[in-house]
Symmetry: D3
Subunit: 303 residues, 6 copies
Amino acid sequence: MYKFKNSDSMRKLLLGVLFFLILAFPVSAQNTKIRVLVFGAHPDDCDISSGGLAALYVAGGHAVKFVSLTNGDKGHQEMGGGELAQRRYKETQEVARRLGVEYEVLDNHDGELLPTLENRLQVIKRIREWKADVVIAPRPNDYHPDHRYTGVLVQDASFLVIVPNILSSVPALENNPVFLYTRDNFQRPNPFRPDISVDISAVFQKKLDALDAHVSQVYEWLPWIDHDTSVPQSPADRKKWLGNRWLTRSQPTPEIKQNLEKWYGKERAAKVTQAEAFEICEYGKRPTEADIRRLFPMLPAKP
Amino acid sequence: MYKFKNSDSMRKLLLGVLFFLILAFPVSAQNTKIRVLVFGAHPDDCDISSGGLAALYVAGGHAVKFVSLTNGDKGHQEMGGGELAQRRYKETQEVARRLGVEYEVLDNHDGELLPTLENRLQVIKRIREWKADVVIAPRPNDYHPDHRYTGVLVQDASFLVIVPNILSSVPALENNPVFLYTRDNFQRPNPFRPDISVDISAVFQKKLDALDAHVSQVYEWLPWIDHDTSVPQSPADRKKWLGNRWLTRSQPTPEIKQNLEKWYGKERAAKVTQAEAFEICEYGKRPTEADIRRLFPMLPAKP
Amino acid sequence: MYKFKNSDSMRKLLLGVLFFLILAFPVSAQNTKIRVLVFGAHPDDCDISSGGLAALYVAGGHAVKFVSLTNGDKGHQEMGGGELAQRRYKETQEVARRLGVEYEVLDNHDGELLPTLENRLQVIKRIREWKADVVIAPRPNDYHPDHRYTGVLVQDASFLVIVPNILSSVPALENNPVFLYTRDNFQRPNPFRPDISVDISAVFQKKLDALDAHVSQVYEWLPWIDHDTSVPQSPADRKKWLGNRWLTRSQPTPEIKQNLEKWYGKERAAKVTQAEAFEICEYGKRPTEADIRRLFPMLPAKP
Amino acid sequence: MYKFKNSDSMRKLLLGVLFFLILAFPVSAQNTKIRVLVFGAHPDDCDISSGGLAALYVAGGHAVKFVSLTNGDKGHQEMGGGELAQRRYKETQEVARRLGVEYEVLDNHDGELLPTLENRLQVIKRIREWKADVVIAPRPNDYHPDHRYTGVLVQDASFLVIVPNILSSVPALENNPVFLYTRDNFQRPNPFRPDISVDISAVFQKKLDALDAHVSQVYEWLPWIDHDTSVPQSPADRKKWLGNRWLTRSQPTPEIKQNLEKWYGKERAAKVTQAEAFEICEYGKRPTEADIRRLFPMLPAKP
Amino acid sequence: MYKFKNSDSMRKLLLGVLFFLILAFPVSAQNTKIRVLVFGAHPDDCDISSGGLAALYVAGGHAVKFVSLTNGDKGHQEMGGGELAQRRYKETQEVARRLGVEYEVLDNHDGELLPTLENRLQVIKRIREWKADVVIAPRPNDYHPDHRYTGVLVQDASFLVIVPNILSSVPALENNPVFLYTRDNFQRPNPFRPDISVDISAVFQKKLDALDAHVSQVYEWLPWIDHDTSVPQSPADRKKWLGNRWLTRSQPTPEIKQNLEKWYGKERAAKVTQAEAFEICEYGKRPTEADIRRLFPMLPAKP
Amino acid sequence: MYKFKNSDSMRKLLLGVLFFLILAFPVSAQNTKIRVLVFGAHPDDCDISSGGLAALYVAGGHAVKFVSLTNGDKGHQEMGGGELAQRRYKETQEVARRLGVEYEVLDNHDGELLPTLENRLQVIKRIREWKADVVIAPRPNDYHPDHRYTGVLVQDASFLVIVPNILSSVPALENNPVFLYTRDNFQRPNPFRPDISVDISAVFQKKLDALDAHVSQVYEWLPWIDHDTSVPQSPADRKKWLGNRWLTRSQPTPEIKQNLEKWYGKERAAKVTQAEAFEICEYGKRPTEADIRRLFPMLPAKP
């Protein structure tokens, strides 16, 4: 495992890694840009689930967009309403800048998302306009109702994106994208199954940069609901604090470890310190292993 | 017309008036308490429409309740959400204290009220539980959609309050209350018609006390949308400023003047400097003149 | 004015009238059957508004259908739910038998009708399937919310009945029917305007027969909400009691009197003791006077 | 496996089979007609899931009805709206003719079905009016949102069909029918479980006849979304093409094979070339093995 | 009154007029661009109500946008669904080209528009993003339910466009625009009142150009529902036919004539052959006469 | 196993048990009252699922509330509507008296519960106002749609009870309660898993007392839908009949037996004749074993 003495050396390492990545994927970057669309319920969910993956795609010259289906105007202990929504929106745009992705926030109320036809059409519209090859969303079972209904909405859109008579003002896709669920810890009715696990160790710092931009979330609201009063004051200290939290959270579980071996081979998998994992949804395109290696160019061509 | 040199003498006068009022209505206070329920869309609408009337009822020993159908969590230039809703709620409780009324705030979003069955049942419930003799609400035509739909909701409830199979958990009223619309300036499809006009000159200061408690509304939000930057800093000054605004706004229009003459006689009507006026809604009980004089004991027995 | 000594002589008179009517309209009966569809909110509204008109149409060989948009499962002081709805349904079928009309009851809850798309399609379906020439419904302003929304629903259907892409499973009408509002006493935003007034004196007893079949309404619920304890016990007595109530209620107002003169001429109008009146809705076909005389064959060809 | 040289010999064979079937089930045909109701989301889903089963029931003299909850007005690459809905409706009526079933299409928009109360009542109504012994519908997990919500709607109706106060205008059933799910390939949250598998080899041609009537689906829309340009021009050729596709699709999986053995015995199960399979839903009647053999008279009395 | 011998001379005249207009309003064009937003229910309603006014604004260098709240996917006798919606969308873009306006079409179903919160937010969004000074929409009483609910939606948005906590992702306007209703012939609950009437004689041909682009509407659907089979075949002939229809329809009524005199003076008003008229909605900014002359620079500075 | 000769000796035993219980938990009773909230769909569901547990809590001095989300106005073979709802409400208040719990009934229609935002807020409100430590509800898979949607509603509320900006008028909880599912027999998508099983043998009679109060349910409706005509006439006999039914139903399954051993130890578990079991929902607080023993003081401190 890597050991970072200070953030400076970490940064250097990261630059090296990025340089390597850019060299590593020259063909895909020039030829076929993969287009990835991540849905979350709140203006930090996409970063949490897929921030590392996004950094890898962007480094490879691919196009990534994050969409938050609510404006996050409820999840805070002090502020609320438009004031909070606007603060959150600015945080997403800072993430967009740091990660090199697009970040859109729909103006639905936090805590009130429902799987309506109106919302379904909004999801279909985003998938079509982005010409997505890969669509990522939470499973329809998770602790927050907005997460669950985000999952339902993306499922409900999954087939209809190719039906021209639905939302006829936006050209239908020719092919269903691959739909992926993001990782969670819930066991019922069945546990998350890591089908595609991605080594994000090299871009873990990039993911932290993204999370760090969600000041109102990661340093205020989330600690508050956990009764955690350990958040340091200074930006540098609190980012370190955040890093420590996420170092652990991003460690591969045994199941993810096993899946990493499938994609990276035993040797490299053993070195993975941080990973993001995804389950293939049955409702979109069912990709072959070759499809997956093509759509996830950060995976080695052969394990 | 009265001239107030300072708020102190005003207070004395008011005390005198109240004393007089308490003496004037001893019978009604002991015998049959009139029960009045005022609906507004936001946590200041009831005060604006019926604050003076409420003060007169309370002075006569009657029971008055204000209900705001939304929590006012949108109408502010800086705050929003739960933070604003809680501030507004505290303001209503201060009004309750100052006026001697009950003040309830339903937790519907400001700017999003719709005439749903759920909201209709909430209105029916309040009318029944209050055993209202008189129910007051805005007309279904007004500039703010929440005002309009408050009017629709109260209309939709008006007959059903006596149907036992509707909301069977709360005993139905035996008789339809009188339903009244509050004054507005809109002409289409037809103008507000003052059917019952009430001299509030003697309690005008009381109404001001109520409005003054809505700090977030009368000194912040309403001036802001009017681009009015003349609000003074100190509580005393700004209350004077508020008084000047409302002195004018509460002056009887020619139509109200005429209606005041019907109820008070020409002589007293001529002395009325401040009035509130109401239109009888066709959908509830259609009161005779005798009914009205009984239900509005602040009106003289004979004009 | 006619004087009926007993119901027997009344019956004889009625038979005579019917015989006359059958002779009077032989052509229309054979040639072009007028098709009339009356919407009400509850299982007695159609009879109240248009029972006499229906009797005249049926006597002339035309086709009349009543549709109640709710099942009336709330408006009773003791019963409720399916038990009440089934009793009410049986009462409508007795009316159908007595009047010679079809009577359909939709299974929507009483007191909960809303102008949804689903309900709108149900209305469109009935109008098309009946191939209605004339459609009758309450105005969208009336004391009961179900009445108002019945009016809104029929308005919302009025144009769409001729659009083939709407409810494409039921062939669209080639022409918009004439839409009529039924009489009410409400003045705001404007009063009911009698455009077509029909002399129902000759079939008044027939209308009473219909109303008399609504036992749970006219002898139980409606008196109960009026605190009227004068309803006699025996079927014969209570029907007489009902007749007295409706004799008055069906008397033409001055406005209706005036309109009767337009259609019947002064002389006959003067003899009309019972009338039903209708206002032409602006949203369907706008009939000429000739259209009206054709569609209302009970009106004389010339006044 | 059978080899058909031409459609003529196929027809003869089929006639023979039908003759055999009619002889085989004389008792059930005379005594107790089984009443079967199949729900699908679109005007070909019932045929796909249960076309063979339906043919066997009809051959045995039983009553089968197909209901499509949407009108299929979206799923086509060129047409749409009422034009498409009407074409699809005609195709269902041709299926009705070919299979000897009833086929009803509800006028809900394709791609927009939701589990509303209105739709639930529509489902309850069909089940009651058909006096269904067996009700068949998709599982609530499938790739198309309309399929999923069809499953939810039928589940939501399953108990309420016996509650007289629900939809009181249509008499409630005395007993819950058996509810069955149709076969799909989805594994999450759990895979389809074949509880009742039916040998449709003898009526496979009949099922093809039904599918062949859905020209706008099986020869136009479904190949188009699969980018399959191999559909032949002539009706005869394309039907052969369709037959080849479905020969494979209807082959029993190992799980179905195993279940066939339960019902038919090892020997006959080994000869089954085409099968349809169903999972028993836990929410309706839980049939014993004897119930199943009675309700599915095409299964042998003993395996 | 002008007499046009052929379309050529008409074109020349128009060019002259436009040249004059461009000279006439150089200041406004350079200084303060008026921003106008017209809402319609279907993809021809804006043109019908305000096509001439739009042409005048554009000629003066101002910014005009048309928004159709539905995609028009129902109103046709043969086509429907996405096929029709796409055809209609192309027609609007041709109008945009011919008139020099922006034209947006929302993907709501024709014949199914309802005043939901989702639709209200869509309207608020358009008004804010366009920074509209003037917003134009139908009255909430008109023959088509989509027209009525377009009126309701714009009314419901009228105040909320200045509330920052509503749709906080799009900056609120600082001031309420002026809201105008478009002309209709309906009398109940009160007739359309022409408050601002605009002489469109000089740009009448431009309006015709716009209408002529709506081939599927003006030459197919609208004549079909009127059973009018007189539409000529050739594009030139049918445009003449269209011109004749609209020459009459655009003639000022006596009420509009009178209002034209107010704004143009008696002399010029007498020469107006074609006019569009608007009623000021009470719910937005209440403009003074000076405001109106500033916002409608095509009106002379003094009558 | 205990043997009761007559109800008198049973009562004595029970008194003894209660006395023992009161002695056994003196600390918890004095110090920290556990607050338990049970949700059911109908006015007998809470008793069926948790009546024994409630009796044990109450005996230990803790606070228990039952909430029925519908008023039960449909589930009866003869009555319905408000008449039935009021009868059911009185039955719940009798249960409240017998068990020593609070019992609230929301006025939603039976058979029509949906997971709307309005209902979700009602659930959040109850959880917060009760300051619940433990919340109990059915799983979202069960045979009755109202049961399923009760499960969904409580899930949807589970996280939001701690978010202050949601329903800001009622103070948010500081910590998520433990959420538990009640026992059912459904296997799909996965079977109920007994995580916490409680020996209710000692209070089984108390549970019967509660069920016995639901006369309209346990002696009328439930036998009727089961075609069970064996209900005795006299109150004493029918209660015995009820006891026999529930003796069996409350017997621990093998899975529950095993779970009882975990909490009570093998020895005591072997003696348990009646039990209630609960599954821990993943969406609220995830309790440790120590948490569970603290929150369920009827469990022994050590097995």
